[in-house]
């Protein structure tokens, strides 16, 4: 029987059941139960992902795309199947549009190197936003240095939302590449990617979306977004570190030269002339992170099994709860109050440096991030050196919000 979508409301996340899937959540830190609120930095791994890594190494480990033996076939099948899982997860048109990389940073650098550098000339413009992570700024600065192109920055408003009025002015006929984050790691703001794509495509520019912070919170459909490249990291969506994804439109990938040479990316090698494999293999020189790709696929299946609609609804409640609880704390200011926002709460507390807040919370078992979050221009925009940041995931509960609020109160008492 085929069920029609939308007939049932999304099932709520059963937090207790989900928490039992993540072995590390049973850990005690400084004598207290772990409260993990640093999901923006990396997420924890469910048992199925940990088991998949172990199982691969215990039963299937071999190199891919070369051996004639059984294990090599098993490893190759699993690696290729992982690519199909990723394709379905982001609704790409073909698995050949999925390039496995080390992470978001490598994906962005790949596009900067192989797509942008050969095409850009002095006078061209690369547009980014004021809320980008350093990894979506520096590769473009390097591209500008190499090509003579100019970096243009769309500002954000006082809530941390993108200034769409300025975007309309700044994306123009000189724009060749627009590189935007989907969700700001420091502020939580969600960027209206589809509208940015519309502006960029009007002027013939390609759009790269940094999806590192988005994939575990919002359903990503690259065809619906309309962008040209989408990058994300496995470890921020409950998968292993060291594996990530670049999705690119087939014609764009096909037109891009290789960026690293080696095995697996060639068709034929001769000293006179070497010919290159088609995408995605053209961009996957050397033995890939086979176990990582398999683990990532298991993580994506895990997320799909719970459902991103349910996850988003759960996190929306957590965000509302955390926002309300934190705003009740005297001297606490939330940095990043955009209407459209993911479950990230960046904040400062009068008279207490974010590092000190982080240390006090850590003593109570609460893990948050403190600092500039690799987004120094964002900090400068708000006139601060850093913030404390709590970032929520599907396994966080209201009890975690309570622990966060209690920890901040402890810091306030200590610093009173």
């Amino acid at each position: 029987m085929k069920l029609e979508r939308g007939v049932f409301a999304p099932a709520a996340v059963d937090v207790d059941r989900v928490r039992a899937d993540f072995p590390i959540l049973a850990e005690r830190v400084n004598g207290r139960p772990l409260v993990y609120l640093d999901n923006g930095a990396t997420t924890q791994k469910p048992r199925v992902v940990i088991d998949a890594l172990a199982s691969y190494y215990e039963h299937d480990n071999a190199n891919v795309h070369r051996g004639v033996h059984t294990l090599s076939r098993r490893a190759t099948d699993a690696y290729d199947a992982a690519r199909v899982t990723v394709q379905r997860f982001v609704n790409a048109a073909s698995p050949d549009e999925i390039v496995f990389v080390r992470g978001t940073t490598e994906a962005i650098n790949l596009v900067a190197f192989s797509h942008a550098r050969p095409r850009l000339v002095p006078g061209d413009e690369i547009v980014v936003t004021a809320m980008e992570h350093h990894s979506n700024i520096v590769p473009w600065q390097l591209t500008c240095e190499a090509t003579g192109a100019k970096l243009v920055v769309i500002p954000i408003d006082d809530t941390g939302a993108l200034r769409m009025d300025r975007a309309e002015e700044l994306i123009g006929p000189r724009t060749r590449v627009v590189a935007v984050t989907h969700v700001s790691n420091a502020l939580g703001s969600i960027v209206p990617v589809a509208r940015i794509v519309e502006l960029a495509h009007r002027h013939g520019a390609v759009v790269l979306v940094d999806g590192a912070q988005a994939v575990s919170h919002v359903a990503v459909d690259v065809q619906a977004l309309g962008c040209d490249f989408y990058a994300f990291s496995g470890h921020k969506i409950f998968g292993p570190t060291g594996i990530g994804v670049l999705w690119g439109r087939a014609p764009l990938l096909a037109a891009m030269p290789p960026w690293q040479g080696g095995g697996d990316m060639i068709r034929t090698v001769a000293f006179e002339k070497t010919t290159y494999a088609d995408p995605p293999f053209r961009f996957e020189a050397g033995t890939p992170d086979i176990a990582g790709a398999i683990g990532l696929a298991v993580a994506l299946d895990y997320v799909a099994g719970i459902g991103l609609d349910a996850i988003a609804a759960h996190e929306e409640h957590l965000l509302a709860d955390a926002t309300q609880r934190l705003l009740a704390i005297p001297g606490l200011t939330i940095v990043g109050t955009a209407v459209d926002k993911a479950s990230i709460v960046s904040f400062t507390v009068d008279g207490i440096h974010p590092h000190d807040i982080g240390t006090v919370l850590d003593q109570e078992g609460v893990a948050i991030r403190a600092g500039h979050h690799c987004a120094m221009p964002v900090m400068k925009r708000f006139g601060i050196s850093g913030t404390a940041r709590a970032s929520f995931a599907l396994y966080n509960s209201r009890a975690d919000v309570d622990a966060l609020a209690a920890g901040i109160e402890s810091a306030r008492r200590l610093f009173a």
Binding site: N30, I352, V360, S385, F415
Partner: protein, 149 residues
């Protein structure tokens, strides 16, 4: 609250965090250097007036967390009026104390010993040593900025 946390944040640390001493630039500085902690983005500038191999005056600007600011403030009190060679010895002793190297054994450091608890918090050692590395750079007349990385 844990004992370690009380050891880290002693009353004297709060006193120097909230009312840092010598927290200003020197007009007649002979040496200065800037330091930054890339982990958190904190920046500090240390100014020195050195004559006849004696640190006659010292000031600092910037700072950061309670540990970094208190350490900078206490540092200025500890080195003002001291011969440069003595300042170098205090730097070495302080470094041993907060990093726990050689079991943290160190000579008498007076008020600076209030920062000994830092060694139980390895991620905070860089906060405590930021001003000190900057002082070191200033004394060596390094014009470039230093980083705790």
């Amino acid at each position: 609250m844990s004992g370690d946390l009380r050891d880290l944040y002693q009353q004297l640390v709060f006193d120097h965090y909230k009312r840092p001493r010598n927290h200003h630039a020197l007009d007649d500085a002979t040496h200065h250097a800037e330091g930054h902690n890339p982990l958190c983005g904190d920046e500090v500038t240390v100014w020195l007036d050195v004559a006849d191999d004696v640190v006659r005056n010292v000031g600092f600007e910037g700072g950061g967390c309670a540990i970094a600011t208190a350490s900078a403030s206490l540092m200025t009190e500890a080195i003002k009026g001291r011969p440069v060679a003595e300042v170098q010895r205090i730097f070495d002793e302080f470094h041993r104390m907060v990093t726990g190297k050689e079991n943290g054994a160190h000579g008498d450091l007076g008020k600076l010993e209030v920062l000994a608890g830092v060694r139980e918090f390895p991620v905070r050692v860089k906060c405590a040593t930021l001003a000190w590395h900057t002082l070191h750079a200033a004394l060596e007349r390094e014009s470039k900025s230093v980083s705790t990385e």
